[in-house]
Symmetry: C2
Subunit: 147 residues, 2 copies
DNA sequence: TATTGTTATACTCTATAACTATA
DNA sequence: TATAGTTATAGAGTATAACAATA
């Protein structure tokens, strides 16, 4: 017999899963309206923050996807003119992925509604004074040391 | 120009996404070790709580999956002897899905490690006094009225 | 030898629409 | 007519392993 989770613990677990699933679901649905999957949005958002782009391996690790999987997504995005492959001047093997103006425009176009949605389904549901506690707790859960 | 999210709000959002993703990832990985996907585990867990089983449409709604998708999963589970289709005595059209002893055994076998994992990656990371606040906040996010 | 990235492959999962049968 | 469920189909996405080129 193992230590079972008590009611509060189980409640936290299921609430986290439900909340995470719900936010993910509505966000994914909205992004689909912009022709982007979550992974694609994540890739574009990551690249938008880094003018010089990111190497494929680096990016794959950040997005938590395999190398082959990222190559597939990079092709999809490149075919739509949202990203570009540029050679790395310091490493002949490496290819850096860089967001194009069109890619940045798409992120910029998707962002306002995205923000509105996040506010509606998440921020506005949590009391102002609880936001800080919530973030601190979830940060500990999401900490890099958490395997 | 939209109202941008402030630092705390953005922090909550990203922390929720990261925490949710992390918990989902490690849980999925562990369940794979038991030969179950998350959807399959959810199906078995739902059925384990209902001796008389659930109708396909009912179950599809609960798991948030299409009818066709559930039929596929039901076949997978049935082929492994984890669930059974039983006719509904009250409706000739309907088929109820019922968990078998083997299915219940599998859930029971997976549960202890599952609980341990949830405790390790989630419960133990959140201060005891914050668990209640966390649950309350996430419950509001996950409320049926949302969105 | 190790690493970067692509390719080829195979597989899992999903939604959709058409369909059958019963309500 | 409407609903329960299955089937057929097609598509998206993923990981894996083999590979080529460079470090």
């Amino acid at each position: 017999m193992v230590d079972l989770l008590n009611a509060t613990e189980l409640g936290v677990y299921f609430a986290l899963r439900r909340a995470g699933d719900l936010v993910q679901r509505v966000v994914a649905e909205q992004l689909r309206g912009h022709g982007l999957s979550e992974v694609q949005f994540t890739v574009l958002a990551q690249l938008s923050a880094v003018p010089q782009g990111l190497g494929m391996s680096e990016l794959a690790a950040a997005v938590v996807i395999s190398k082959g999987g990222l190559t597939y997504q990079a092709k999809q995005l490149e075919a739509r003119g949202l990203v570009e492959r540029v050679p790395d001047p310091d490493d002949e093997r490496a290819a850096r992925l860089v967001v194009t103006d069109a890619g940045r425009d798409l992120v910029d176009a998707a962002l306002p509604a995205h923000v509105e949605l996040v506010r509606a389904v998440l921020i506005d549901r949590v009391g102002q004074q609880d936001l800080e506690i919530l973030r601190a707790s979830l940060d500990r859960v999401a900490a890099p040391s958490n395997p």
